[in-house]
């Protein structure tokens, strides 16, 4: 399959999404945000990290999910299993672990009264236990949070009983990306940005290529396949149960600058790593609701970037950006990776201005709907998926 340049092809592929305008209110309504808390973030599988974040037994990290008012402790037990718990001591309710990440040697201790838990969450020791009433340590471990792992990505589910397994939830995305060897790519950098925008506005701002030739007219100049009028076109768009991917190809030749030329001279020495699971040269997977996996081919190798969007309030989101690369084989390749990181950050710094000003504009209430063109079909699908969960208009 090659990038097709014709117009309105995605409305043909996905006629059920229709082509009308999309309501703006969900992007700035407090009421909608409150509904999203229970109907989306407590009812879906949420990515919280990777298994490489906790490689050894006793390694842990904490995710405070502000939107849901929970603090989740993810820990690898002595048996190697990754588990999730509410990060709360069951004695008096103190937050158990205060650092964002760390490592314990087999057990976790609550500093308040020195209650001790195993790295599998079992209550092991209670000082002055004899002075309690009918205390049964066997039944009093840390409160578990449903936790599962797919291809090294750790997900949690905050419902008492998830209605789908992680695998069922990921559906076609898992089918597409199974075996992609994400573990071959190592984390180079993590950046957090405090964005003054609704989390869906941030998701939308990244979730189409229509804006590339305008907002990113210099940084992405000539980077992706365009039609004769200069508009980006996708190789393909795939919509799954809740998730989506759009894929781009590169043009036959890319803009070569003096820096790029110097960095590229040993590019053929890089071991080939091109996962067969990729659809195009850049695949933008949105894993509903707040997670993105961006797979990008660079030269002979492949990198991936993830975004986690953490809503703090209706108009405030922490945008977490992680970049992963294969092990470099030369200083040139190290610097190529650094260059990719800089270009990506520059691009996202441009996106930031859009995110915050789109939110500011929408929040004025001046427009009731946003108007989407054919290449903005991933947004159309995303907003439908949001509303399918929230049901704000269904009940109206």
């Amino acid at each position: 399959m090659k990038t097709a340049m014709r117009e309105k092809q995605w409305a043909e592929k996905y006629p059920e999404l229709e082509t009308g305008p999309v309501p703006a209110e969900p992007m700035f309504s407090e009421e909608y945000f409150e509904l999203e808390r229970d109907r989306i973030f407590r009812r879906t599988w949420i990515n919280v990290g990777r298994v490489e974040d906790i490689p050894e037994s006793g390694d842990y990290f904490v995710r405070d999910i502000v939107m849901c008012g929970v603090s989740v402790l993810i820990i690898r037990g002595s048996d190697g299993i990754v588990r999730g718990f509410h990060n709360v001591c069951v004695h008096r309710g103190r937050k158990l672990v205060l650092d964002e990440q760390g490592s314990c040697r087999g057990s976790l201790l609550c500093p308040f009264h020195s209650w001790v838990y195993s790295d599998a969450g079992e209550l092991r020791h209670v000082p002055d236990e004899e002075n309690f009433f009918d205390l049964d340590k066997q039944t009093l471990g840390l409160k578990p949070v449903h936790t599962d792992v797919w291809e090294g990505f750790i997900f949690i589910h905050l419902a008492a009983e998830p209605s789908e397994t992680l695998r069922e939830y990921l559906g076609g995305v898992a089918d597409q990306l199974d075996g992609c060897r994400f573990s071959k790519m190592k984390l180079l950098s993590t950046h957090n940005v405090d964005v003054h925008a609704n989390w869906k506005v941030v998701q939308d701002g990244q979730n189409e290529a229509y804006h590339f030739p305008f907002q990113h007219r210099r940084v992405l100049e000539g980077s992706f396949m365009r039609n004769e009028k200069g508009h980006c076109r996708y190789l393909d768009v795939n919509l799954y149960n809740y998730h989506s991917v759009w894929s781009c190809e590169y043009p036959p030749s890319q803009k070569l600058t003096p820096l790029r030329f110097s960095l590229a001279t040993d590019v053929l020495r890089t071991p080939v790593f091109q996962p067969s699971q990729m659809i195009g040269k850049m695949d933008h997977f949105v894993i509903f609701p707040n997670f993105v996996i961006l797979l990008v081919q660079i030269g002979l190798t492949t990198t991936y970037v993830t975004y986690n969007l953490w809503p703090l309030a209706v108009g405030r989101t922490i945008w977490e950006i992680r970049m992963h690369f294969t092990e470099p084989v030369s200083v040139r390749e190290q610097l190529r990776q650094e260059y990719f990181k800089c270009l990506t950050l520059d691009t996202l710094q441009e996106d930031m201005v859009a995110h915050e000003n789109v939110y500011a504009g929408l929040a004025t209430g001046a427009i009731s709907h946003v108007i989407l063109q054919d290449d903005e079909v991933p947004l159309r699908f995303f907003h439908k998926t949001v509303e399918d969960h929230v049901g704000f208009y269904r009940n109206a």
Partner: protein
């Protein structure tokens, strides 16, 4: 005898050794505070030597670099960070972009 700041064959780049900054944060801070003329002067000095610099540094790949080579490596990281200003944006930052320092490196 004191060790020279940079490897002998790159001695001419010594005026730019203040771009040998250890952290991404420091490099980004420098990028956003210096003038475009200063950025261009650094770029113009480094770029014609960049092949040679990379060949030199690649000989140390996977090893501990001597301090002088390490400085050259850090200057190369700075070049990678600011080259886009000269080559693509023609201005001190990306087009209509937020303050880069709002992106806080976590690791």
């Amino acid at each position: 005898m004191t060790e020279s700041l940079l490897p002998d064959e790159f001695d001419d780049l010594a005026p730019f050794v203040d771009s040998a900054l250890e952290s991404e944060r420091e490099r980004t801070e420098k990028k956003v505070t210096v003038t475009m003329d200063e950025t261009r002067a650094f770029y113009d000095a480094m770029i014609p030597r960049f092949h040679e610099i990379l060949d030199y540094l690649d000989d140390y790949f996977g090893e501990t670099m001597p301090a002088s080579a390490h400085r050259l490596y850090l200057m190369s990281l700075s070049l990678v960070e600011v080259a886009t200003l000269v080559e693509l944006y023609k201005q001190p930052g990306a087009v209509e972009a937020c303050d880069p320092l709002r992106f806080v490196r976590k690791d």
